[in-house]
Amino acid sequence: MGTPTEAPGHRSLADQLRGWDDVRLTRLLLARPDLATPAPHDFGQLASRATVRVSLLRALDLLDRLELHVLDAVALVGPASREEVLAVVHADGTAAGAALDRVVDLALAWWTPTGVRALSGVAEGLALAPAWAAVSGLLPAAAEAPDADEVPPLLTQLSAAARALLDHVEGSGGQATAGASRLRVTAEDAATPAEELLARRLLVSRGGSAVVLPGQVGLVLRGGRTTRDPVDAVPPLVTAERSPALVDRTAAGAAFETVRRVELLLDHWGTDPAPALRSGGLGVRDLKATARLLHVDEPTASLLVEVAGAAGLLAQRAGGDGNALWVPTDAFDAWSTQVTSTRWAALARAWLTTPRAPALVGTRDESDKPRNALAPGLTSRTVTESRAMALAALHGLEDGTVLAAGTGVPSLVSRVRWLRPRRPAAREQELADALTEAASLGLVALGGLASYAALLVAGEDPGPVLADLLPEPVDHVLVQADLTAVAPGPLESSLARRLQLLADVESRGGATTYRFTPASVRRALDVGWSAAEVHEFLGTISRTPVPQPLTYLVDDTVRTYGTVRLGHAEAFLRSDDEAALTTLVHHPKAGSLGLRRIAPTVVVSDTPLDVLLPRLREIGAAPVVEAADGTVQVTRPDLLRARAPRERTTAVRSARQGAAAGAVVSAVRSGDRAGRVRTGGEAGAAPASLTPSGALTALREAVEAGEAVLITYVDNQGTRSDRLVDPRSVEGGSLVAYDHRADDVRSFAVHRIHSVQAVPD
């Protein structure tokens, strides 16, 4: 795509963008989405937006170290030809060339007729960076200073002290104060090292006592390049050898555990939900209980609940008392019926795309409050990018190699720091967290990316590959005389659910251990199993004969089952006169009353008391209502479900953005064409007054092109005047420009600029 290198150049950035094809424009808008919202009217506005400081800084954050240095070089020597730029970058030409194309693609620099030129805010933006992302630190070339080829002879004239001073200024940011030195002095009069330098314009004054080292001088001092050290050395990853099969197996183990734990947790919360905090999160105590339930540590427990939440399997719902509860969603039911590998893929995808940062759980926020799992604020802007970069780095490793234990992660951190030098330091922790989380979820094991996870990252279906690695479901258990049963693998889910009813789970993992107790057998009887059914079920799932003690246990439990009967009735009728009750029960009009005799002196009814009482009176009985001491309610715990939150994942978001960006491109094009027709019609006419945004666009264009413009300005007294100015920057509603009439740099309020007119050279 880097075709425009030899292009003739454009009058303005807007012109250059206008010349791009749709694919390239779309790519720009995808990379810098802030340019597209809201859709700009025309290319002028688009170009104007690209130069806005905030947007510019965001774009700079996307660059790797080499690209930053190339852009820095462009800012220093531009406008310059491709060769001139590449000559001053201390890097391999091909890589630097690609980097140059990329900064142009990102609209951070553009081709003028005289060469490539960086946007005016770039130099300032580059300077605003943490120490590790610093670029050359050279200041822009100064017109009053000698040209690069004149510098070496001047250097030879310097005294040793002056040369040392010059080197010192170069090494410490290029800025200094002149102190008592005379700023205007000739080489012959120079008394101090500083004056020697000032006289030869190797340092130039910047008002007051501030002096700076002009860029072209700095370049010469550094041997003609912006840096002394090469900037294209990508830090290597420290690796170790490990068989991919082992990586896959270990990761698959973790993947299996992840799915099992999420299912266990949500099954548990389906009947016994965890209360949600008022602030929306999960309480510390509930997190601890979760960790205990799942046999994991708390960070892993936070990760699992967060991933379940991100996958839409977990949401809040109001409980019976109105307090919010964390319960599985209806999506969980669909999820549970899928095969393990599909279920895992859903969880892993959710983790890859969620901006939530489980690793922050337990840390303290700005107001020094601990952060809770599932709390709304637990997000990070860079965390998905960190995950993607960590996995991409592992993906890039050769087959059979993994990140070395211990030193691997630091090397990955420095690699990513090279790739995104301007990102905040906190992301080092994010990278380490991403790797830990990936390992506990089963994307990564032993420092290597599992083969199926690579498919997932690439957007393909990891299911079939993963399924081969997971334990195969078994259809039998080994029943033993100590009243335990062991399923030597994951039990088929229908069997597992039935067995869980009949026996308590003692240990989970690749295999499951069940224990039969009288209580567990009773539980099965409670849901309507008969002794024969229990025996038959045990007989079919057990590979070995069912041990006698278990058979005995079942029979013994059945024997005592139901000795006490419990029933449901709305009202009871009690009389010492058995005949009176008999009369009532057999009364022809009593048929609809649902009377049932449960003892000679007790009759119960399904009819509520308030209905029953008048009816009985109609029949002719004269009952007395006993003090209501409550009827027994038989309840079963309901499985609670909430609606899955419809949150867009970043994948969907980016697809939508892709579509939107395309639409924006066409909108801009048409708007632009309309605008040109309008202005074309009035060619040569007096400049029309401009809207503030129109003025901004025109001014920014002029800043980028470095052209003088004629503005009509209304000053403080309301006097209208035309000024010929060289715009330097447009920021915060004011234009900073060199005013030709005043021969000085002045600031103009943009809203008072009535019109802007290009001045032919």
Binding site: A254, H295, D297, P471, A481, D482, P488, S507, G510, D556
Partner: protein, 547 residues
């Protein structure tokens, strides 16, 4: 996926499928570091515990071996967190070492300074440590060697004890193997104890732990103090030692309530050592009476707490613990580890049974139904009375009589907890009774008569639980036990499991009252047996004639 016999669970249990062809190899490989928790018929359960892993470290295994073993035999992938945990736990052992210092005596040193700093700041070790010699070394008060080890274990940084042992007063002891042979596993057990320095040997009842003790003494060839549970068992030890070793009667002393002899080999009871008079233990000086070269603790799982405290002061002497189970009802397994030593030898019951060294046993639970009136009494009784009521139901007497009748001609023991019940049974069955107040002399006479076959039926209380050799018993009927004590059940079954001349199967009946706490306790006790691989059957008393 690999077709191993082992399934590693994330809760740190290991399930071993024993019908698998590689099960035997796997068992051998994991035995050093995993504790066998249950061994029923199909799947054995092992558990990885810090103690087990440290035991393995003490025996010279490292984390890598453990991890490799798990990976090699595991059928499914091993949870990564578990592997990390194994490595971390094992790395904790030996960061601290107790060593001899040429000038300062006993010192604790560390290769990991932060660990030492952490430990030095712990409250638990205050007062046990002296001056800091340099960054990595600190003086330990010699008297606190045991206490310190105990405290360090609680802190999770168990120390390796390299300070060595005193040789003790030399005394020639040899095994006299003219009429018998030390079994292979007994020799292995004694050897691995000796190589390890100090520690515990776990062997099932009836597997000849006394022989292991004798073999250890033959290794030490030094004066020996043997601590046993009671006088009868002290006499048995004495008899065995005379029979199996070069020791003569004059060289072996008994130190019990009745006799107080201190000889080159002295056998003392726990009871006499822990006897307190006016707040002091008058017999404690026995521990220092001679320069003992070896101390043998019989039935370590019953070691009373005061003995633990005393043992803390004996760290410079070699110690061997003998037991059938490391399960302690009081949960003080950690103290056994730090004060006596790590487990040095372990063999599953079934293995030794398969080799024919202990008799196979058939366990039957007989359930009797309480009659209506007793059920009412039981239902309304105070909770503390309930067990006694259920356990002593007169119904059991008739069942016992029936069982005794059925096994007439086979030497039979009737074992119980409650004296009134036993009195009644003895009267009904017309059999001699041994209980707490039976004199030692009388006890020995009765046991002798039972052994010789002179009497075929004996009613005993819990005094016969331990270390009394009744090899001829073929049938045991338990009518009541001390609540749910698992080790009692093991001991009682152990009475039966001395190998029989005819190789018959021993019978163990437990008579319990249905639907009462008696049955619940019985279940708890039997779980232990079932976990050891002893299947049991349950029959109703009414079905007994048919069964």
């Amino acid at each position: 996926m690999n077709d191993g016999p082992l399934i590693v669970q994330s809760d740190k249990t290991l399930l071993l499928e024993i019908d698998h062809e590689r099960a035997a190899d796997c068992r051998k490989a994991i035995a050093p570091f995993a504790e066998l928790e249950r061994s029923p018929e199909h799947v054995h359960t092992y558990r990885l515990t810090p103690l087990g892993l440290w035991n393995a470290r003490a025996a010279g295994h490292d984390a890598e071996q453990v991890v490799d073993t798990l990976l090699e035999f595991s059928r499914y992938s091993v949870p990564h967190s578990l592997l990390v945990d194994v490595a971390e736990t094992m790395a904790r052992y030996g960061r601290l070492r107790l060593e001899k210092h040429p000038t300062h005596g006993l010192v604790m040193s560390s290769t990991d300074r932060p660990v030492l700093e952490e430990v030095l700041r712990a409250k638990k070790v205050q007062g046990m440590l002296g001056a800091r010699l340099d960054d990595d070394t600190v003086v330990v008060h010699a008297s606190e060697r045991g206490n310190l080890k105990q405290a360090l274990l609680k802190l999770g940084w168990p120390a390796e004890d390299w300070a060595g042992y005193v040789d003790g007063e030399a005394h020639e002891i040899d095994l006299d193997e003219t009429s018998w042979q030390l079994r292979d596993y007994q020799r292995d057990a004694a050897d691995s104890f000796w190589n390890g320095g100090s520690g515990v040997v776990v062997l099932p009842c009836g597997a000849g732990k006394t022989m292991v003790g004798a073999a250890a003494m033959a290794h030490a060839k030094a004066t020996t103090l043997i601590l046993v549970t009671n006088t009868v068992s002290a006499r048995q030890w004495k008899d065995e030692l005379i029979k199996r070793t070069s020791l003569t009667e004059d060289e072996i002393g008994e130190y019990s309530g009745a006799v107080k002899e201190v000889r080159p080999v002295t056998i003392a009871t726990y009871q006499v050592l822990t006897m307190r008079r006016k707040g002091v233990y008058p017999h404690l000086e026995l521990l220092d009476a001679r320069d003992w070269g070896l101390i043998v603790y019989d039935e370590v799982h019953l070691l009373p707490a005061p003995i633990f405290r005393m043992t803390a002061n004996l760290q410079a002497r070699r110690r061997i613990g003998l037991t059938a189970t490391l399960v302690r009802e009081d949960g003080r397994e950690g103290d056994v580890f730090s004060l006596i030593g790590p487990k040095r030898y372990d063999a599953p019951w079934k293995d030794i049974e398969a080799q024919g060294w202990i008799a196979p046993a058939d366990c039957v639970e007989v359930r009797v139904t309480l009659p209506e009136n007793e059920r009412l009494v039981y239902a309304t009784a105070e909770p503390e009375e309930r067990y006694r009521l259920a356990a002593c139901t007169p119904h059991k007497t008739s069942v016992v009589r029936e069982l005794v009748e059925r096994h007439r001609g086979q030497p039979t023991l009737v074992i119980g907890q409650y004296i009134e019940q036993l009195d009644e049974l003895a009267a009904t069955l017309d059999a001699p009774l041994i209980k707490g107040d039976t004199t030692v002399k009388e006890r020995q006479r009765l046991f002798e008569a039972f052994r010789s076959g002179e009497i075929g039926l004996l009613v005993v209380s819990k005094v016969a639980n331990f270390s009394i050799d009744l090899p001829s018993a073929e049938v045991a009927i338990q009518v009541s036990g001390s609540f749910g004590s698992r080790q009692e059940e093991a001991q009682r079954l152990g009475r039966l499991m001395r190998p029989k001349a005819g190789g018959q199967t021993a019978r163990f009946y437990a008579v319990v009252a249905r639907d009462t706490v008696d049955a619940e306790f019985a279940q708890n006790r039997q779980r232990f047996l079932a976990e050891q691989g002893y299947a049991y059957r349950i029959v109703d008393a009414e079905d007994l004639p048919a069964a």
